[in-house]
């Protein structure tokens, strides 16, 4: 699974300050560090960037590309900032990717022409006119709309990264949302027939948002394996999470098999498993909504 480093984010205090002060050093250091640990893309998240976003994105794209060749995700809802970034972006080892275009008329109308004009990739986010889709089928409807636009604007499949939206397992809707994201991925192969080469991406760590900090990794890792099983191609993740990197590069085949067995409904005997295996089995059960989430899910 490809990794998109999420660390270059305005919300990170040091980075936010550097962006504000136009201080290239912390930004370049972080970009270099992300490249060193081998992320496939670097996400540059400016947040809303309402004021002066264009000028900021232009500056930051230049600054980052001075030190790394890794392709960039340009992440802001400010359309002007996206375009300013694309204007100065140099394709060294891949196209820049607009993160993201939502399945809402105003988002599609503003950003598809820019993607076409600058030959950029896009994250097609399944967020519709009425917000978060309620289930896998509504995700499918939004996906169809976005794909239709891709065809209209001639965005080739290989430049499209569909994001089915990962939601926190701790939220009240999790019982439907977390499994329905997986359900959507099951139909992804069919969608790829319409737009060959299309891939997928996701904000993986959102699944563990709200869970106790020390328990977030196992949720992230397990959900990653579950999504990847049905073709999830990439995830926006902490670039420096070495454990997650192991899972992303196909490691831990033993756990992967176990997770799949639980996904397929097998009642695995927890007593016959090691503590580590049992933890992954329990986590899978929570993520397929067989067990209701609680902060102590591993202790039960």
């Amino acid at each position: 699974m490809l990794r998109v480093g999420e660390n270059l984010n305005v919300m990170v205090k040091k980075i936010g300050t550097a962006m504000k002060d136009r201080d290239p050093k912390p930004i370049q250091e972080l970009a270099l560090a992300e490249a060193k640990v081998g992320v496939d893309f670097i996400d540059i998240n400016l947040g809303p960037a309402r004021k002066g976003g264009g000028e900021l994105m232009e500056w930051i794209v230049k600054v980052v590309q001075e030190v790394v060749d890794t392709p960039l995700y340009l992440d802001t809802i400010n359309t002007e900032a996206i375009e300013a970034g694309l204007k100065v972006y140099k394709n060294k080892k891949g196209k820049a990717v607009i993160n993201s275009i939502m399945a809402r008329p105003e988002s599609m109308d503003a950003k598809f022409p820019i993607a076409q004009k600058h030959n950029a990739g896009i994250v097609a986010l399944l967020w519709g006119p009425s917000g978060l889709p309620r289930d896998a089928d509504e995700r499918g409807v939004l996906a169809a709309e976005l794909m239709q636009k891709c065809l209209e604007f001639g965005i080739p499949g290989e430049d499209v990264w569909m994001d089915p939206i990962v939601t926190p397992v701790t939220s009240p809707q999790s019982q439907v949302q977390v499994p329905s994201c997986i359900e959507f991925m099951k139909m992804f192969k069919d969608l790829q027939e319409v737009l060959p080469g299309m891939r997928s991406t996701c904000g993986l760590s959102n699944v563990s948002n709200g869970a106790p900090e020390h328990l977030r990794p196992i949720l992230n890792q397990t959900y990653m394996m579950m999504l990847e099983r049905y073709g999830m191609a990439s995830a926006i993740v902490d670039a420096f999470d070495e454990d997650l990197k192991k899972f992303a590069s196909g490691g831990r085949e033993d756990l992967r098999k176990l997770v799949f067995r639980v996904m397929d409904g097998e009642e695995v005997d927890l007593k016959k498993l090691s503590k580590e295996q049992a933890d992954y089995a329990k986590t899978t059960r929570v993520l397929i909504a067989k067990t209701l989430y609680s902060d102590s899910w591993l202790e039960l």
Binding site: S174, L292, L300
Partner: protein, 315 residues
């Protein structure tokens, strides 16, 4: 081929919890199907209604709610007795509102004495409900537990912020703890786990999902309770297999719809009838969602709901 009604297959059972002691103790829970799905499973104990008693004369109650209790409003003991003797209350719910630090701020000792007097004066089980201020309740309910040692009270709300103190009191002095969470199924489960880890026996836990009144978000409570019963009965979720208690009366009678006088809103109909029906309908909604104990106020609303329970559980 004869038509067969599709039936839900259940794999779990709600625990039976006995409230109070002696001949008037009541057992709740024990369901093996969704509420009143008697064609699919058993509901060995019908839902019960606790009648409210306040530890200080209510000031903002609408006339209709106060009227039956006017003669006893200043004396919680007389009030409790009246509920049992005149209205056949199966449980009493003593609301210790006067302990609220933002209100009268009465001491824990005083509250504990009131609780003891009320519980001694009636032979039915007594629920003792704090002010809802987690810090103050930690002290008040702990003191109530200690002072009423062995009286098998039902004490709450026990929340994440005070479960250790109140839970310890429940364990040491053998009371039932009301595990209370803010309309959130995951937090409800977590608090039950925490109480279990603390050592509160499963037979001494009852769950309060927090409820709104009719028209004030009751659908959220309904969903949480529905999900709770699904997990408990069809997913063998042991930490949710507890009976449910809804402290609902105060939510209804504080609403604009229950308080507005007949002459101020003639189109809304008679104020008394309106309040009673709001309370009764809220109660029925909560029963259908899975409530085992309802805390109610107006005798006529209670009468309506009792009839409804009898109809729903008729063999």
């Amino acid at each position: 081929m004869a038509f067969e009604i599709p039936k839900v297959t259940y794999t779990g059972k709600i625990r039976e919890v006995t409230l109070g002691k002696g001949p008037k103790a009541v057992t709740v829970g024990g369901e093996t199907s969704y509420p009143f799905h008697l064609f699919e499973g058993a509901m060995p104990h019908p839902p019960r209604i606790a009648m409210e008693v306040y530890d200080t004369p209510p000031e903002e109650w609408p006339e209709a709610a106060l009227e039956p209790f006017k003669d006893v409003a200043k004396d919680p003991v007389a009030w409790a007795k009246k509920c049992v003797q005149s209205y056949g209350a199966e449980l009493i719910a003593l609301q210790l509102v006067s302990t609220d630090p933002n209100g009268l701020n009465r001491s824990s000792d005083e509250a504990a004495q009131t609780a003891k007097k009320v519980a001694s004066a009636v032979d039915v089980p007594v629920i003792v409900w704090g002010s809802g201020n987690a810090d103050k309740d930690a002290d008040v309910l702990r003191k109530v537990a200690e002072t009423c040692d062995g009286m098998n009270l039902v004490i709450g709300p026990v929340v994440e912020g005070n479960y250790k103190q109140v839970g310890a009191g429940a364990i040491a002095y053998k009371h039932t703890a009301i595990a209370s969470t803010p309309i959130d199924i995951n937090l409800a489960k977590q608090l039950n786990i925490l109480l279990g880890n603390l050592g509160v026996p499963d037979g001494q836990i009852i769950v309060d999902p927090t409820t709104g009144g009719l028209g004030y978000g009751i659908e959220y409570t309904y969903s949480v309770m529905e999900r709770d019963r699904m997990a408990a009965l069809t997913q063998q979720d042991e930490r949710l297999q507890f009976p449910i208690l809804c402290n609902m009366a105060k939510e209804i009678w504080k609403t604009k719809e229950a308080k507005t006088k007949t002459e101020d809103a003639p189109t809304l109909g008679d104020a008394k009838k309106r309040g009673i029906l709001l309370e009764a309908v809220t109660a029925v909604v909560l029963l259908l969602a899975g409530a085992d104990v309802l805390v109610m106020r107006h005798p006529e609303a209670i009468k309506l709901v009792r009839e409804m329970i009898a109809d729903f559980t008729a063999k």
